[in-house]
Amino acid sequence: MKSIDELNLPENYRYAEDHEWAKLEGDKVRVGLDDYAQDQLQAIVYVELPQVGDSIKKGEPFGVVESVKAVVDCYMPVGGEIIAVNTALVDSPGLVNESPYDEGWMIDIKPTDLTEMDTLYTRGSIREAILKKVTKEGQ
């Protein structure tokens, strides 16, 4: 597992409690799993994505990511309509590990309420949150 300093948490992304990232691109929001999540899960073997056209609220699950020994739900960092899903993940789920912020993206959302983005962590605050969690577990 990576140490806190090894984690890649890019500046221009926002982060959710469960380590989904969200990035505003024009009028859509692109979503994926952050480096911390993919590192904790280790090799991802399966990704389940929603249907294009589904409308899902912020905080509700939109998909499932599985590694060999773990399975996690992925939650909407912001609510809205799914306008695209990354079908490449069906055959190459490992992209989430190899390129979490780029080729490993999961969904594109047409957000209902853009201000929901402001409720998310920034690079700095998510780093703090992770640090807190790691220290607590280490005790």
Partner: protein
């Protein structure tokens, strides 16, 4: 006691390391009011030699071949099991190991189960089979639950010609879910009346058994059609796996799930258990399947090996959202079935299945010649229903005294089939045995 290796010296040395004065003191965390005060009221221990006699005395009361001629199938079939199968299955490396969580020291079990999965797929014409369920009955219940998960519908239709016990298990399993179970009636031909489905909507699955409880081969093509029309899953159940050594398999009729009982594949009857729940489906549904799966892979040096895989479906990872709660299954029975299938080989399997079919045909013919009515005219495998005259019960009892069990009376399962008996024949019955039976019935 020979199973407990500790000497008195061992015990005192170990207590010292633990830091307590006596065995009783080890239980200091058990509160006083939780303690058992009196000794067990259980029989005094027997020596191995005393127990030999006791167990033999129990086993001796049981009616088994060759002394008894039992013409009953109904979900448990008397087939010959080669000594080689039993001997291999008794190897303690297979018997005394746990579920293969550590693949490097469980390759025997894992390859054995991978081979079992493959042979079952070939037998049933399916793409994926799991490492086993408890028995044919719970396999059917799990199949129906799987269909409700996939289709997100809450009603299932099952044929009344599915083994009555299986239907009871299905109802028990589905009871707390509130899902509706509709039973499909049967026709005079001894097949399920699929026209009863007309007008029925919102079905998750339609399940029929073939050969069915009356031994009749069902129309699996019609099942497929009816299921497709309703966007329901088609489930083919069975109790006599050997039938698919001869009959067209359910996979060739595009069944979505095939599940049933594998006891016929080299597993002793053992008063109904342990047996083998077989469960097979399509790769597109694999992530909704219950039970364990073994997959082929390679090790760090590139050498072929096997592991439990797709485990995220299972209870130890997905917990309350698992595809089933099953953990321990019938692993050793699955291995036994694989050894049996490997021993038979393709031609042996076909020959044995045909021999079973022919022997059944022979008895059917003899009984018809003797003037008894074969109740249903559909083709059958290993079992068929005969209607005897109304005073047959007396004859049945007399034959029991002669150590012949002349079929299973059906009235308690199907009240409308008073005086009807389900006859079961396998390769263990000789022409002479069947002659004795027919003579006994006639006289």
């Amino acid at each position: 006691m020979r199973y407990l290796p500790h000497t008195d010296d061992d015990i005192s040395a170990m207590l010292k390391v633990v830091g307590v004065g006596s065995l009783e003191e080890l239980f200091s965390t058990v509160p006083e009011d939780c303690r058992k005060k009196e000794p067990f009221n259980l029989p005094d221990p027997l020596t191995e030699w005393e127990l030999n006699r006791h167990m033999a005395s129990l086993a001796d009361t049981m009616a088994t071949m060759p002394e008894y001629k039992v013409f009953v199938g109904a979900g448990s079939y008397e087939h010959f099991v080669p000594s080689s199968v039993l001997s291999l299955l008794g190897r303690s490396e297979f018997v005394t190991s746990y579920t293969p969580y550590q693949p490097e020291v469980s390759q025997g079990t894992l390859q054995g189960i991978f081979e079992y999965q493959t042979l079952i797929c070939r037998l049933l014409g399916m793409e994926v089979a799991n490492a086993s369920m408890y028995d044919g009955a719970s396999a059917l219940a799990e199949a129906l639950l799987m269909a409700t998960r996939i289709t997100k519908k809450k009603k299932v239709a099952i044929s009344r010609l599915i083994h009555p016990h299986y239907r009871e298990v299905v109802k028990t399993y589905l009871w707390p879910t509130g899902y509706e179970v509709v039973e499909l009636p049967y026709l005079e031909s001894g097949r399920t009346d699929l026209s009863a489905l007309d007008g029925m909507a919102e079905l998750a699955a339609i399940a029929i058994q073939s050969p069915n409880f009356f031994g009749c081969v069902e129309d699996l093509a019609a099942l497929r059609e009816k299921a497709s029309e309703r966007e329901a899953m088609s489930i083919a159940s069975f109790t006599e796996a050997l039938a698919y050594g001869l009959l067209r398999n359910p996979g060739s009729y595009e069944a979505d799930i095939v599940c049933g009982e594998g006891q016929s594949l080299g597993i002793p009857q053992s008063f109904g258990g342990p047996s083998l729940g077989i469960f097979a489906s399509r790769m597109k549904y694999v992530r909704s399947m219950p039970g364990r799966l073994v997959g082929k892979t390679v090790d760090m040096a590139g050498k072929q090996g096997f592991v439990l895989t797709l485990a995220t479906r299972e209870q130890h990872i997905r917990r309350e959202r698992a595809t089933s709660n099953i953990c321990t299954n019938q692993g050793l029975c699955a291995l036994g079935a694989a050894i049996y299938m490997a021993s038979l080989g393709k031609h042996g399997l076909r020959e044995l299945a045909k021999l079973n079919y022919d022997k059944t045909g022979y008895l059917k013919g003899r009984l018809e010649e003797a003037g008894f009515k074969v109740k249903f005219d559909s083709p059958t495998f290993n079992e068929f229903v005969v209607e005897f005259p109304s005073n047959f019960e007396r004859t049945y009892k007399r034959l029991l005294d002669q150590k012949i069990v002349a079929g299973l009376p059906l009235a308690s399962y199907y009240p409308e089939l008073n005086n009807c008996y389900l006859m079961g024949v396998t390769e263990t019955k000789t022409k002479e045995d069947m002659g004795i039976l027919v003579k006994g019935i006639e006289s």
